[in-house]
């Protein structure tokens, strides 16, 4: 485990170092890519200047809204569907095909219906994220042992009470997997939508910089998104593993 970690870090360091070298030697021309050290430097000065604080805040706020909405709606819908097998069976083909449908194709439609606001972006992030929460909530709820449900019935709990006191706490680690995916998908949805058309946000600034051949800004913001998303996802991944290992020990 430790060894693999060290080798992994070494691979990343060597890859970044190689990229740096190729850029510095001019093998990769500077109008294609700037050296990683220059990206980091540019990012540092941009963050310090506060020039993109508004865009960063806008993107993060939209991602945050999409995540929270997807979590709430996903858990609610998952719980409801688990209690209504007929509806679940009918919707099953939808679950199986959902992620095959190119969600961004709905973005132009959303723009036409709702206009150029934050809402279409949030909607794309939400739509990508919510199904992961629903599917994982169902998966967790399906695993609740019958003995716990019998106990709940003996205590005379209603559907809502049973959901909050027995089913959902048991399913928590699986629901968490759904949350983790929801975070990743919300970022993908919102930032993708910003790229396609928007008037602010990190994705907008990157495509603006691209159109103006402003590589220092463009690569700095690309680096920012990648570092941000990888850090968030990796932390959630580590947290998830802790949750699951605790469940296994119990």
């Amino acid at each position: 485990m430790r060894n693999a970690f060290i080798v992994r870090i070494a691979i990343v360091v060597v890859a970044v170092g190689l990229l740096e070298l190729l850029c510095r030697l001019g093998v990769i021309p500077s109008f294609t890519m700037i050296p990683p050290s220059a990206m980091a430097q540019s990012l540092w000065s941009l963050l310090a200047s506060g020039r993109f604080s508004h865009d960063i805040a806008a993107t993060l706020a939209n991602v945050g809204i999409a995540i929270v909405a997807a979590m709430l709606a996903g858990v609610a819908l998952g719980t409801a569907l688990q209690g209504w097998p007929a509806a679940r069976r009918t919707l099953d083909p939808l679950f199986a095909t959902y992620y095959a449908v190119p969600m961004y194709a709905f973005y132009p439609l959303l723009i036409v219906i709702f206009g150029m606001s934050d809402f279409p972006q949030i909607a794309i992030g939400f739509l990508l994220a919510v199904m992961a929460v629903i599917i994982n909530t169902l998966n967790g709820l399906d695993r609740v042992p019958a003995v716990l449900l019998k106990t709940a019935r003996v205590h005379g709990l209603g559907f809502v009470q049973e959901a909050f006191h027995v089913r959902l706490p048991y399913a928590a680690p699986y629901v968490f997997t759904g949350f983790k995916l929801a975070v990743a998908y919300s970022f993908i949805g919102v930032i993708g939508a910003e790229f396609i058309t928007s008037s602010r946000g990190i994705g907008y600034e990157i495509s603006f910089a691209y159109n103006n051949f402003d590589n220092p800004v463009m690569y700095a913001m690309i680096l920012f998104i990648l570092l941000l998303v990888i850090t968030v996802n990796m932390s959630l991944h580590a947290w998830e593993r802790r949750l699951l290992s605790r469940r296994r020990r119990a």
Partner: protein, 243 residues
């Protein structure tokens, strides 16, 4: 029986669409029937076919590259346990980043046009295919491999009779996921880095506020993606049931 639920579902979606249309009206929506008619007109328009062709060619190339490269990465990583352990978190991290972000880089490398679209479709598909292939090979029952060694199977026999049948179902799942993602990648690529193709038409229709066109294209893409996925899913389930 098997076909009943999907049919009910499609029926429900059409009803929902019709209700939405009744609520929103012609300002921003068209009815399902009108849209189907518009799509028919669009499909019989000779000026439209080159765009479909463009997208189909870009997607086919991107998907083919994704399958080949994905398997070339995933299969060896599944066979070499330590290398797989090192690579897995890197692959997962690559899977979960918004790859759209890398689009300007792809454009700077390949320029606007076909190669950029193909590359963008490919990078979306490679990672899931390699992750699934890695797990497929890694999870082959070691007893089977030991039995093969005891029976002194040749490498060809080993590959054809043990490795392939054991890993195929998972690999098929990976290819199905990769298919969807490569399609999304290709369309995204067309949406902001192309003068042709369905993604480009969608963007053009959006800036012209052409609701008929947007709806017809969206319907076409959704039906195509869902249809192919349903076929691949059926194949996938058959492979898994046999294993």
């Amino acid at each position: 029986m098997k076909w009943r639920d999907p049919l009910i579902l499609v029926f429900l979606i059409v009803i929902l669409w019709q209700v939405l249309y009744a609520l929103i009206g012609d300002v921003a929506l068209r009815s399902p029937a009108t849209t189907a008619h518009n799509l028919g007109t669009l499909l019989s328009d000779p000026r439209f076919l080159p765009h479909i062709n463009e997208t189909a060619i870009a997607f086919a190339q991107g998907f083919a590259i994704a399958v080949v490269v994905g398997l070339l990465i995933g299969v060896p990583l599944g066979a070499a346990r330590f290398a797989g352990e090192v690579a897995e978190p890197i692959l997962v991290a690559l899977y979960s980043i918004p790859k759209v972000t890398l689009y300007p880089v792809i454009l700077l490398i390949f320029g606007i046009g076909m190669p950029a679209k193909v590359a963008f479709g490919a990078i979306h598909g490679i990672v899931p295919i390699s992750i699934f292939a890695m797990n497929a090979v890694r999870n082959i029952n070691p007893t089977h491999l030991r039995t093969a060694r005891v029976m002194r199977m040749s490498f060809l026999d080993l590959t054809l009779k043990i490795l392939l049948p054991a890993a195929l179902p998972e690999i098929a799942t990976g290819i199905r996921v990769g298919f969807s993602l490569a399609l999304i990648g290709t369309l995204l690529g067309e949406m902001f880095g192309s003068q042709r193709g369905l993604g480009h038409l969608l963007m053009q229709a959006m800036s012209l506020h052409n609701i008929e066109r947007i709806l017809a294209l969206t319907l076409l893409l959704v039906v195509f993606a869902a249809g192919i996925n349903a076929l691949l899913l059926a194949l996938d389930r058959r492979l898994h049931a046999r294993a």
